[in-house]
């Protein structure tokens, strides 16, 4: 009895959209569509007109040159620092290790026996 009821309900639901009528969109769809297309077009026009302004273009070029200059300068500085470290490093280490550097005035004056 219960199963029969459920099966009837399922069948009714399955066939409920068999002869469904077409729904209609709200009127003036084309007008709204045109307005939307215009808005989207306007957004792109705004972006492209902003980018093509001479001041923006000049600022962009300056920024690119500035970044390039910074990269070149920074890489040169790093190379110099690395070179100086590698040249002076071992000598200082040896002097420290074998105490070849005069520490006091007395030692400096009587360096030879």
């Amino acid at each position: 009895m219960k199963d029969e009821f459920i099966h009837k309900k399922i069948d009714a639901a399955m066939h409920s959209i068999d002869k469904i009528e077409k729904a209609s969109p709200r009127p003036f769809l084309f007008t709204r569509l045109e307005a939307r297309m215009q808005n989207e077009k306007n957004a792109w026009t705004k972006i492209s007109s902003f980018v093509s302004r001479p001041i923006v273009a000049f600022a962009c070029i300056c920024l690119v040159i500035f970044i390039n200059a910074m990269v070149i300068l920074f890489s040169n500085n790093t190379r110099n620092t690395t070179n100086s470290v590698t040249q002076n490093g071992p000598e200082l280490a040896t002097a420290d290790e074998y105490s070849q550097v005069s520490a006091t005035l007395y030692e400096f004056e009587n360096s030879k026996p």
Binding site: I10, A13, S24, L29
Partner: protein, 194 residues
Amino acid sequence: MTETELIELLKQRDRTAFKTIVETWQSMVYNTALGILQNEEDAEDVTQETFIQVFESVSSFKGESKFSTWLYRITVSKAMDHIRRKKRKKRFAFIQSLYGKNDEAVIDPPDFFHPGASMENKENAAVLFKAMQQLPSNQKTAFALNKVEGLSYIEISEVMKLSESAVDALLHRAKENLRKILKEYYTTFNENER
């Protein structure tokens, strides 16, 4: 004016041709979107997106398939994109609510009453549409095209780029799944009624 002439004029960005195309096919596009999305506002949104896509990419239409088939394909693809976008938004809103950033609760959409369903079938149709939401996207699309749009298996196979037997299998699985979902629904409903 014939369909081919209209398309040729649209390729030249003719406004009148575009208006004629929109007015001729708006019902078809809107009803397809409504069958899949089950929300009138979303269906209108997808209808507009479809026609914008048609206007922008009509030059790529070579006439190998029927214009209506091409339109159906764009509509289905736009509807699927819309569902994906909505799911993403819902997920994001849920995460935000977990962190207390968004106090709005994540609410499931209300039952959908199709405006074309007859009075005596309104309730049953709403239950069926709700069950359809649980189907995998390709089964839902095939079922909506068949039941809401009344397309034949051959037409569905052209729209979905599948073989006729694949569409047959897809629809068979969709109906089987729907029966399962409905059985569960009516069993719970029956128990709650007591």
